[in-house]
Amino acid sequence: MHSALLAIDLFFVIEKLVLIVAIVSISLVIAMYETYAERKVAAFIQDRRGPNRAGPFGLLQPLADGVKLFMKEEIIPNTSNRFLFILGPCLAMLAAMMTSAVVPWGGTIDFFGRQVNLQIADINIGILYVFGVVSMGVYGIMIGGWASNNKFSLMAALRGASQVISYELPMGLSLIALLMLTGSLKMSEIVAQQIDGWYNVLYQPLGFFIFLVCAFAECNRTPFDLPEAENELNFGYHQEYSSMKLGFYLFAEYINMFISSVIMATLFFGGYDIPFVNDASLSGLGNWLALLQGLSLIIKVCIFIFVFMWVRWTIPRFRYDQLMNLGWKTLIPLALVNMVVTAAIVLLKSNGWKF
């Protein structure tokens, strides 16, 4: 038994562990500076200065916020369900971090003769995995809201959950059209096809738009931040939370934003492909090529994150019935039409453009 158990490829485990630690810490650091960027963008749009006291240009502001959150008193309400109250933010954070496992972050690195793929798990159901994890994200909100034993929190949790479930449908439908073109659910395969050809957004502009809108809704960002509508629900599902548990909820939102930007860049904008450059011609750069590719992915992601913030500070919040109408009566029919048209074109193309 022992000999068989030890037959695990030790280097494989170490490689994956290093990758996981690296990707998790990158996500956390980016999420940290998203909070800074959000305040700076907000300030820019509202013609203010934004945080500028902690460090040069206020760059240490996220650290100061983190210290503040840790120092706050930890309050667990008497009437709450203690275990679930703590489980809620943990689940939110866990679901936010898990998606990054299937994203290809760059090409392969040659590490002392060992080819290291910059992707934690190259599974052939990559996109479905993303969907699975996204659908788990609801539980963080629901459990937290219910366990607080507060009517406002419960209402907000129900709103959040129904919003996320409703917008998963058009998201999935818009992806089906994309998958018909790529013919693969593997993320690495989808990126490889875009490196060789055109970016998917050129084939699927409507699909990308629907996906973008749904991503806003899935992240509970304005204009879809109904679960934390202050004027209706005080503070939403995390009203009873304080200290770092509140921090986890807020942080999970920023990580979700980062991850959904990564997914959009990967599916529609060529992933780690360096735009306007033939990546294959740069293969002489060796490991630097992989780093450049990773950098180009991060730049694309930053652009998306900026769009997220831009929209947040430009568009006011929807009313709840408007939100549901948009999801069910506009986006789903649009996504269905997109799907049918794409299917017809794919079929025609495979028949050699003959009816």
């Binding site: 068989a4 052939n124 788990m136």
Partner: protein, 165 residues
């Protein structure tokens, strides 16, 4: 004992243990959460059998969507131990009788199903991979597949009709 066997026993223990917790936990919200863990364990079994598509769809549909609806209902009903009405004594007796009958039927049925020598193929066989599964569904089983989709459609229409009333 290799890794897949260790995983198999761990997942089985997890599935059975959490399924028992579903039945015996007092708080209905806890029951739902245990049921979600059960689904995770079953998805793990699917992945061991190399049926990745089935495993992930099980998570998306059951753990991700249906259990959320369960949670909705239970959270809105606000079932507390104090407010829950006491069960009728006769109801309990009827439950015991019904459970005993089910046990008899199961014993009678399982007596026939001899599984000795039939070992599930772990990690081999590729019908569970999405490409082969899609191919099988749209060629060999296209009629049942389309029929079941019509069934789903009619259920959806029915739900909308009931919701409109």
């Amino acid at each position: 004992m290799d890794i897949s066997q260790v995983l198999f026993y761990a997942l089985s223990a997890m599935a059975l243990g959490s399924a028992i917790m579903v039945v015996i936990s007092r708080n209905p919200v806890h029951s739902v959460l245990w049921l979600i863990i059960t689904f995770f364990a079953i998805s793990g079994h699917y992945i061991l059998l190399n049926a990745q598509f089935l495993g992930i769809v099980n998570l998306i549909v059951y753990a991700g969507a249906i259990m959320v609806l369960f949670l909705f209902v239970i959270m809105l009903m606000n079932l507390n131990a104090e407010t829950e009405p006491q069960k009728n004594k006769w109801l309990k007796l009827a439950g015991v009788v019904a459970g005993g009958c089910l046990l008899l039927v199961l014993v009678a049925a399982l007596k026939q199903a001899e599984v000795k020598g039939k070992v599930a193929m772990l990690g081999t066989g590729d019908i569970g991979l999405i490409k082969n599964l899609g191919h099988a569904l749209f060629t060999d089983y296209v009629v049942p597949f389309e029929l079941s989709s019509i069934l789903f459609l009619s259920a959806m229409v029915g739900a909308v009709v009931i919701g409109k009333k």
